[in-house]
Symmetry: C2
Subunit: 311 residues, 2 copies
């Protein structure tokens, strides 16, 4: 046979009361079965835990040591149950969060702050990957939630817009366009060398660049994979590039960010003024309670960032 938690609870009661009658009362039972449980426990443990004659009950050294461990035992159990409930409710656990190196600027920071405040028992593990890598990670179960750019395979992924921001042109500080007034249109870049993006690994910005320049006569000369690379090449005098407004936060020296005329013809529900979208993505059907919790916070975080920008 084996030691039972009931026996442990009985022992704790008796050890604290040092009196079988009162202990039985506390356990809402009668004294005889309590005596038997203690006897059985002592037999299982293989040590005399209580020294008792007909007059008094005292803990043996072994009993005192065992009592300490019993406290730890019941505490551990209570915590285990509470923890399981919290995890089930999404209030605790581990969140594997994917994000893109530059694109999440201005979103990831506030989100992590909010997570730390609102879900302190959730451990966040960050995975910096490009959009494609995040999609693979989600499919393999390595990532629970990603922050990435469309488009996604909506048959296996669910998504939600987290942030929209304007598209900007980056030009070197000594470039003629740097001193222009007002928003720039596609025609302003006629004949200007443009740093473009890789059509597959940076598909989103590639298409956005192409869409902006449609019907124009500029020359797309490079195919970088990251926004940061594009900005650095601009600073090096290699041409101009189109980047999300938040790229200004990268702090690259020697470049200026210029507004653009609104981009038409994007997704039907996109805002022309802020066409660059960041989405939260997760495995369709794997909307765990924790993901639900986190998505609420993602929305709140995006809202707060929006409000701050609106001021």
């Amino acid at each position: 046979m084996d030691v039972t938690l009931d026996q442990v609870r009985c022992f704790v009661a008796v050890a604290e009361e040092l009196h079988f009658g009162r202990a039985a009362e506390r356990l809402k039972m009668t004294q005889p079965p309590l005596s038997r449980q203690i006897q059985k426990l002592e037999r299982m443990v293989g040590a005399q835990l209580l020294d008792r004659d007909n007059r008094r009950v005292v803990l043996t050294a072994a009993g005192a040591a065992f009592l300490e461990d019993c406290y730890r035992l019941v505490t551990t159990l209570d915590e285990a149950v509470a923890h399981a409930r919290r995890v089930e409710g999404g209030w605790a656990g581990t969140l594997h969060l994917g994000f893109t190196a530059v694109s999440a600027i201005g979103v990831l920071g506030p989100l992590l702050g909010l997570l730390g405040r609102e879900l302190p028992s959730v451990e966040v593990i960050l995975h910096e990957r490009v959009t494609g890598g995040q999609v693979d990670g989600i499919r393999r179960g390595e990532i629970d939630l990603g922050l990435a750019r469309p488009p996604f395979d909506t048959s296996v992924l669910s998504s939600r817009v987290v942030a929209r921001e304007p598209l900007r042109a980056v030009v070197a500080r000594d470039h003629p366009l740097a001193s222009s007034r007002g928003p720039l249109g596609p025609e302003d870049f006629d004949g200007v060398p443009v740093i473009g993006y890789h059509p597959t690994t940076a598909r989103y910005f590639h298409e956005m660049t192409v869409r902006f320049l449609v019907n124009g006569h500029s020359r797309i000369e490079q195919h970088v994979q990251q926004v940061l690379t594009a900005v650095i090449l601009v600073a090096a005098g290699q041409g101009v590039a189109f980047v999300p407004a938040s790229a200004a936060a990268l702090g690259v020296e020697g470049v200026v960010f210029k507004p653009l005329t609104d981009l038409g013809g994007g997704h039907p529900d996109s805002e022309p003024a802020r066409p660059v979208e960041l989405h939260a993505i997760w495995s369709r059907g794997a909307l765990t309670p924790m993901l639900r919790q986190v998505l609420h916070l993602v929305q709140r975080s995006a809202q707060e960032v929006d409000d701050a920008l609106g001021e």
Copy 2:
């Protein structure tokens, strides 16, 4: 109702096998009651721990978290049982060890070393007290084992000789007796001022001094309580004193230790050559398993010290 350890064990088995049939086999039971136990556990915990359809079983996030805690739980229980057994056998626990400041020199060190090696799970708490204080401590349960000088109240205390050593005379380096040859007898101290001990608080050395000097004509001029004090007074030129041979280890400068002629008429079973006895004492009837273990080591330790001295 309440969570049972059996349910926990069932859950661990299923969570590890991810298969009710195999888990049941491992638990030496059939599958239906196992299913019921898991259901009941989930009801008790208040969270779904296993996601199962008719084809496969997977842990939920809550289940994975709970599993970790379950491991801790059973480990804690096993350790608690093992610990209780060790304590009962005297292999672990806490030992309150009393000793006298100077008298235990040469005994306490080796004993503590041996305890640390042989009973590493026994925590030793030292209590430096004079013999009387140790006796009180034992009576109050504050001390388990004392290292003290006779006589004791043998109706409540058991004792065992731990060490015997010669009595020596301490004299200042520039004292006439310092350069004498051979053992000194009582007559050598005729007319010499002798530092004596307090008749009640240092009864043992008081009586030993008086017994040695019986029929002599020396003057006992002080009544110190500790051996160390006596040696220091000797160094200060206040006279000579009688101390255990191990007092040489105190390292007081400016004194020399001189052998004495054998002391007759001590206890019937005492050795005249080594009349100063150190006893281990404990509460009669409170010979716990741990005390038994420790007493063995005390004997071994004394034996080793004796052997070392004999070389």
